[in-house]
Amino acid sequence: MAIESREKPEYKEREAQFSTMSGQPIEPLYGPEVAPQDPEATIGEPGEYPFTRGPYPSMYRGRLWTMRQFAGFGTVEETNERFHYLLDHGQTGLSTAFDMPTLMGYDSDHVRSLGEVGREGVAVDSLDDMEQLFEGIPLGGVTTSMTINAPAAILLAFYVLVGERQGVPPEKLGGTIQTDILKEYIAQKEWCFPIEPAMRLVTDMIEWCSANMPRWHPVSISGYHIREAGSTAQQELAFTLKDGFTYVERALERGLDVDDFAPRLSFFFNAHIDFFEEIAKYRAARRIWAREMRDAYGARREESMRLRFHAQTAGVSLTAQQPLNNVVRTSLEALAAVLGGAQSLHTNSFDEALALPTEEAVRVALRTQQIIAFESGAPSTPDPLGGSWFVEKLTDEMEQAAYEYFARIDELGGMVEAIRRNFPQREIADAAFTYQREVDERKRIVVGVNDFAQEGEEPTPILRIDPALERKQVDRLAATRASRDGVAVEGALAELKRAAATEENLMPPIIAAARVRATEGEMIAAMQEVFGTYTESPVF
């Protein structure tokens, strides 16, 4: 009956084919004929294997997601001020953005840091900086996320030492450090070392944290950046999980028990604009991770099987044109993350297409989360879209697509080998190009850009980073170098070099060096003398 009415000319469809932004075809209708065959086994209940509906039984009825806005610019003084602003306005967790020199392992006075200090995030060179970054913030009372990868062990050492100074021992510190180096070679492109030594450092951190920091996530296995680089949702899902499995394998090879470290692995996904596809992606992620952890990696504890994630709304979806439209985009994306069961969420600010957010813009972004939390009713029951014929089918299709990628990556010899052969990088470049062609040809509409555009817009006031902050940071660094025990630093760096050439866990020598005010750049350089550096052979 319905099919006949659909054929009538007045019901002719606007497109020959509808699909998600990732190219997954969407049917004219989803009904009971596509209902899941075995819902108890494949969907289950929240807080129970396979965790499709969420990692916790009550989800947001028990506890809302953490409102955790990524922040950082200039020196630690400006960023500390922004941290306090965000906490005062109701955010419930901290998230630190570091500048490019810090991310790439260069001190602020390095020649390669010129013009880059404090621009994309906060400049941190030494423990002195880290202490001031958290001035007035009791680390025992808040969780902190740090977005840093190749130098992650060093920043973790800084954080542990700040905690120590505050009287908070490592075992009481809660938070996350990104550390996910595989996705750097794939997408974010912030590296210091070749792949193998970098993987050794990741395993060192997982091992050390599982013994010393039970409340900490030593790695945030990420898809956000893979997606931002242009991947489809399926690629984001598949490459992220495959990276995660690779870290699990390395930790098992190290001799760790899966149930000792797996509960502290966390994830970070993009929340992009194609609403239902994102929700399906998160649900598929949880189901796949649970199954593989139990069946492939022998996990016995539920905590080892449940995937928990932070989400960030898609930076690439923001437009410079008509920036207030971005409030709408961010809202939809944030709602998808919430309906998809995220544990932690960052919402982008409307002015971020061209710059880091102003206070006003980030306040609106935070209010977006608060409105979803307290006005929309979205958190009132776990997995509200569970049982939707459309969403369950999309979830299944997403899962299937991921397994197809797993098989291709396995055929190449695993993720590390796939990266060496540029496989994920090429997939991403192709997907990015395809998407751009669709936009250029107006097959895909971006409101305000290739349709509904406006002439003569007034430029939005944006955050400008004062170039004088670079000088200020270089002076801070000089003061640190002048006031520390140079002999102790040399000794600590020598010890770090010695340990790097062995199979010892590098967290202790890194902490020791950090304690005597060795700088990040000095520690990275010392390790590079042993490990070497990395240059990619790009494909486009």
């Binding site: 490019m100 390669r112 880059e116 931002e228 990015a432 971006v446 990619e536 790009p538």
Partner: protein
């Protein structure tokens, strides 16, 4: 109009500084290649010195600098100055990335022919480079 030469337009697509955002640069590189140009993509983390050297060695007609790190007001002037120092004054210089509107006039004063900001269409960029580079290498 040198139809006889059939020398392809040569474009260097470069990523100056520590910025790792290469999505746009790769798309442009591919679009230029698809449009029949010879494209040299430098890859990431290039110093201004490395970029200038590549432009000269590759006898490029145009160079596209892609920067999304906010460091453009330090890095672009450096590249332009290095090219000028080495007597290269006929290379079309374009910039792409997260460049605030208020920085564009200063970049143009330095000799940057165009700044392409978020939302710029690929075809528009390819055509601009084709026209600008053709004017230079036919001159």
């Amino acid at each position: 109009m040198s139809t006889a030469t059939a020398r392809k337009i040569r474009v260097v697509v470069a990523k100056p500084g520590l910025d790792g955002h290469d999505r746009g640069a790769k798309i442009i590189a591919r679009a230029l290649r698809d449009a029949g140009m010879e494209v040299i993509y430098t890859g990431l983390h290039q110093t201004p010195e490395q970029i200038a050297e590549t432009v000269i060695q590759e006898d490029a007609d145009a160079v596209g600098l892609s920067i999304l790190s906010g460091a453009h007001m330090t890095l672009v002037p450096k590249v332009v100055a290095l090219l000028a120092e080495q007597g290269v004054d006929d290379v079309l210089v374009t910039v792409g990335g997260t460049i605030p509107a208020e920085d564009i006039p200063e970049l143009e004063k330095l000799g940057v022919a165009a700044v392409f900001t978020p939302g710029a269409g690929t075809d528009e960029i390819v055509e601009f480079i084709r026209k600008g580079a053709a004017e230079r290498h036919d001159a």
